[in-house]
């Protein structure tokens, strides 16, 4: 029963995605083209975030902590 509810929920989410991006009115081949492009773009965004964001965040943290935390160290 739970599996059915989860499946229905996912189906409903897919339906909302179709409605919001207007792929609900497109023909099947247009819809597959649109899904391919969307999934590709989304995958690229996720990959870029995974590769670059942690390194950038660490560098930024070090930079700012050097500016603010570095002053008392140099005076002592």
């Amino acid at each position: 029963m739970d599996i059915k509810r989860v499946k229905d929920y996912i189906h409903w989410l897919y339906y909302q995605y179709l409605l919001i991006t207007c792929s609900y009115v497109l023909e099947p081949w247009e819809r597959s083209m649109f899904h391919t492009i969307t999934v590709t773009v989304f995958a690229m965004v996720v990959y870029t975030a995974y590769v670059f964001v942690p390194i950038h965040v660490r560098l930024a943290f070090e930079f700012f902590s050097q500016i603010f935390g570095g002053q008392p160290e140099s005076m002592v």
Partner: protein, 518 residues
């Protein structure tokens, strides 16, 4: 936001009108949706141009390819690429009288709505929330139908002439006297078509050297009539009295554009109920302005006659004003009387002038006799002159249905435009895919609705428009509300951010909104 306007004591009752703002996220997503559709539209047009795909709309023949183009291809971009895809929600063929329930022929399309075939099945008893049947007179049985039947056997169906020549029947004279009595004016004249009443009579009233002040959202017939007349047209913001006053002041102070002469006539064109917004005109203020600046008022009561006012006499009675203040009262018989045609009412000199100089009177065929009899019987029923209280009961039932339906929809969380007392209820959909989805889902649940999209409304604000009727019983409304609730959850249409606290006494109550939570 419900605001009550008391403008110097002009209003005898609260005027509750609300147009909730579009939520920002919804507007952005709507534009995203239109962007996707535009891209795919360009792709399909490209394929049609390069013959990769068969072009199914109108094109010239091969021999005419070098001539001046007959069909302007790009102008129909929206038509080809969005309207065609969701076209099955419009032009649905009905095969019974459009009362509270209607039968519809089922159609399918195998090539994505370019052509339709009938399956042969008839979908029965669809709750009809789309017909302008405000008082429920669209019936095929009852006193109106019997009277029309008798007149049909006496006069036949055709008139075969115009009013000026041989088409002036005694039935028309009787109808006009009745309409004048109903409205409280001196005299009235009836025409065969409501659209033609507006578009053919405004040119007879104003001409070059006159000024027309027309509301932003006026109907196409008023716009066409104004343009045909040759007068200067200035537009004021919808139902906005400050905008109208500013235009009037400028017109009086500055006069005509180059010569600075005073305008020959200033005519204000407004409608009683605007059918796309569900808003009611601010008539007391318009009349006060008209008197102050000495201009004339043309009131188009197409949707409000029969539907507003304690005895159905329209928007003038709703505000408790005198019909003498409105110079030209125009209306149609299509909506509340279940017939066809239009009328103009006013002072005797005005109507006598229109009888000779209106294009519609001189060139258009007059009303058909059974239709005239339907109007006479239904009008007498509303006035109570047929000896029963059926008319008054219907007017009251419509008012109760309106208040109940609007309150329940607002409680559910939909964005509803318009005035509390207007029987036209627009429910906002916004996203283009939801237009098609809403129409189809409601039809699956046996409810027929009218959905409206771009050229008739602004591009972001597409809506579904419900027209309530006195023929709807409470059970029908409850069924419809339940289905709308389901479809609203399924399509995520409950955008409203104002939550009404539901009163404990739910059914049929004359309630005013007392608690609002933001």
């Amino acid at each position: 936001i419900n605001h009550i306007v008391h403008n110097g004591g002009l209003y005898k009752r609260p005027f509750n009108e609300a147009f909730e703002e579009t939520p920002m996220l919804v507007a952005v997503l709507t534009y995203v949706g239109y962007g996707v559709l535009t891209l795919f539209g360009y792709l399909r047009d490209f394929m049609r141009q390069w013959k990769i795909e068969k072009c199914q709309n109108a094109t010239e023949r091969e021999e005419q390819k070098d001539f001046v183009p007959l069909y302007q291809d790009f102008e129909n971009f929206y038509n080809r690429n969005l309207y065609m895809r969701i076209r099955d929600s419009w032009n649905r063929p009905i095969c019974s009288v459009p009362g509270a329930k209607v039968d519809m022929m089922e159609r399918v399309s195998h090539d994505y709505n370019w052509t339709f075939t009938y399956t042969g099945r008839v979908i029965k008893d669809i709750i009809n929330m789309g017909s302008y049947n405000y008082l429920g007179f669209a019936q095929n049985a009852g006193t109106c139908q019997e009277a029309a039947d008798k007149v049909l056997s006496q006069y036949g169906a055709g008139v075969c002439s115009t009013r000026q020549e041989m088409g002036n029947l005694d039935k028309h004279e009787e109808l006009e006297k009745l309409v004048a009595r109903f409205l409280g004016v001196e005299s009235a004249m009836a025409y065969g078509m409501g659209f033609a009443t507006n578009s053919m009579n405004i040119p007879a009233l104003v001409g070059k050297g006159c000024l027309i002040l027309s509301d932003e959202l006026n109907h196409a017939s008023l716009v066409l009539g104004a343009r045909l007349s040759g007068a200067t047209i200035r537009i004021f913001k919808h139902n906005n009295m400050q905008s109208l006053e500013k235009l009037l002041k400028d017109a009086i102070v500055h006069g005509q554009p180059r010569t600075r002469r005073p305008w020959k006539k200033i005519l204000i064109l407004v409608e009683g109920i605007y059918s796309m917004e569900g808003s009611i005109v601010r008539l007391p203020e318009v009349i006060a302005l008209k008197k102050k600046y000495k201009s004339y008022l043309y009131l188009d009561e197409a949707h409000s006659i029969g539907a507003l006012g304690p005895s159905g006499r329209g928007v003038v009675e709703y505000f408790g004003l005198s019909p003498e203040d409105v110079d030209v009262m125009m209306g149609t018989f299509t909506k509340s009387f279940g017939a066809a045609g239009g009328y103009i009412g006013g002072k005797k000199e005005l109507i006598d002038y229109l009888r000779t100089s209106s294009h519609s009177a001189v060139y258009a065929t007059s009303l058909s006799p059974p239709v005239v009899e339907q109007i006479i019987t239904s009008m007498k029923c509303i006035m109570g002159e047929d000896g029963t209280t059926v008319g008054k009961a219907r007017v009251q039932q419509l008012a109760e249905n309106t208040r109940y339906f609007r309150r329940r929809l607002k409680e559910m969380g939909f964005i509803i435009y318009g005035n509390e007392d207007s029987p036209v209820v627009p429910l906002m959909l916004y996203m283009p895919a939801k237009i098609g989805a809403f129409g189809r889902e409601m039809l699956k649940r046996n409810i027929g609705v009218v959905v409206v999209g771009f050229p008739a409304t602004p591009i972001v604000e597409s809506r579904a428009r419900f027209c309530l009727s006195a023929a709807h019983t409470k059970e029908m409304l409850d069924t419809a509300l339940k289905e709308i609730n389901e479809v609203g959850d399924l399509l995520q249409l409950k955008y409203s951010r104002h939550r009404l606290v539901p009163l404990l006494d739910r059914p049929f109550d004359e309630t005013t909104y007392e608690e609002t939570e933001d």
